[in-house]
């Protein structure tokens, strides 16, 4: 069964304290991995797509990386406005059909 696991469930950082969020997956036929940011009371907002192991994408203080079994979202010198829930989703292809499997998210709180 396709599975996406995010850790930790919650992370509390001080402003400027860099860290990483993890998304590990066991799926058949990886087509792509997505990172989303979700603010309270809002829908998820797309951040990155990664397609193959070794790929990296950056946006401001965020950098996403991908290996064959997991992805990391590195947050460098975070600010309070980076506080949100970060969701990982994996696009799989099996038996001719595609499916998007979401992790349960990591809730990040950045204290000033």
């Amino acid at each position: 069964e396709d599975q996406v696991t995010q850790s930790p469930e919650a992370l509390r950082l001080q402003e400027g304290e860099s860290s990483s969020l993890n998304c590990s997956y066991t799926v058949s036929g990886l087509r792509g991995l997505f990172w989303y940011r979700q603010d309270p009371g809002k829908g998820p907002e797309f951040l990155f797509t990664l397609y193959s192991a070794g790929e990296e994408k950056e946006k401001e203080r965020l950098k996403a990386t991908l290996t064959k079994k997991e992805s990391f979202l590195h947050i460098t010198a975070p600010k309070p406005e980076d506080s949100a829930t970060y969701l990982c989703a994996v696009q799989t292809a099996q038996g001719g059909s595609e499916k998007l499997v979401f992790g349960k998210g990591t809730k990040l709180t950045v204290n000033p």
């Binding site: 087509r31 792509g32 997505f34 989303y36 009371g41 809002k42 829908g43 998820p44 907002e45 797309f46 797509t49 397609y51 969701l87 989703a89 696009q91 998007l100 979401f102 992790g103 349960k104 998210g105």
Partner: protein, 114 residues
């Protein structure tokens, strides 16, 4: 910028009522989706549609139906609302012509069934 608009932010309905959740997207996307999001369970796919009048069941279609009469509009219908359908409902869309096209989400409808 893609905009996915859900008609209601909050809804309170009684058990047994028929409930309509409406979603409109303005980017001419072929694909539209309905998810529900619950604490500890994450996002779960209810139904999706690849084209007008087409629909496919997702992972948890029981108790729901959908309608897509126009390309830009996708409706979720709860035929007879029950308390276990209290949830946050998220509509999303993406382009069918682009491989790995990311989903664009609306801001959700928080439905409470009493």
């Amino acid at each position: 910028d893609v905009k996915v608009t859900q008609s209601s932010r909050y809804l309170v309905k009684r058990t047994g009522e028929k409930v309509f959740l409406e979603c409109v997207q303005d980017m001419d996307h072929e694909n539209m989706f309905w998810y529900r999001q619950d604490p500890g369970l994450g996002l779960r796919l209810i139904y999706f549609s690849y084209d007008v009048k087409m629909k496919e069941k997702g992972d948890i279609p029981e108790g729901y139906s959908v309608s897509r009469e126009k390309k830009e509009r996708f409706s979720l219908i709860l035929e007879s609302a029950s308390t276990n359908q209290t949830s946050m409902y998220l509509c999303a869309s993406n382009s069918g012509g682009v491989i790995n096209s990311p989903l664009h989400f609306g801001n959700g409808t928080r439905l409470t069934v009493t």
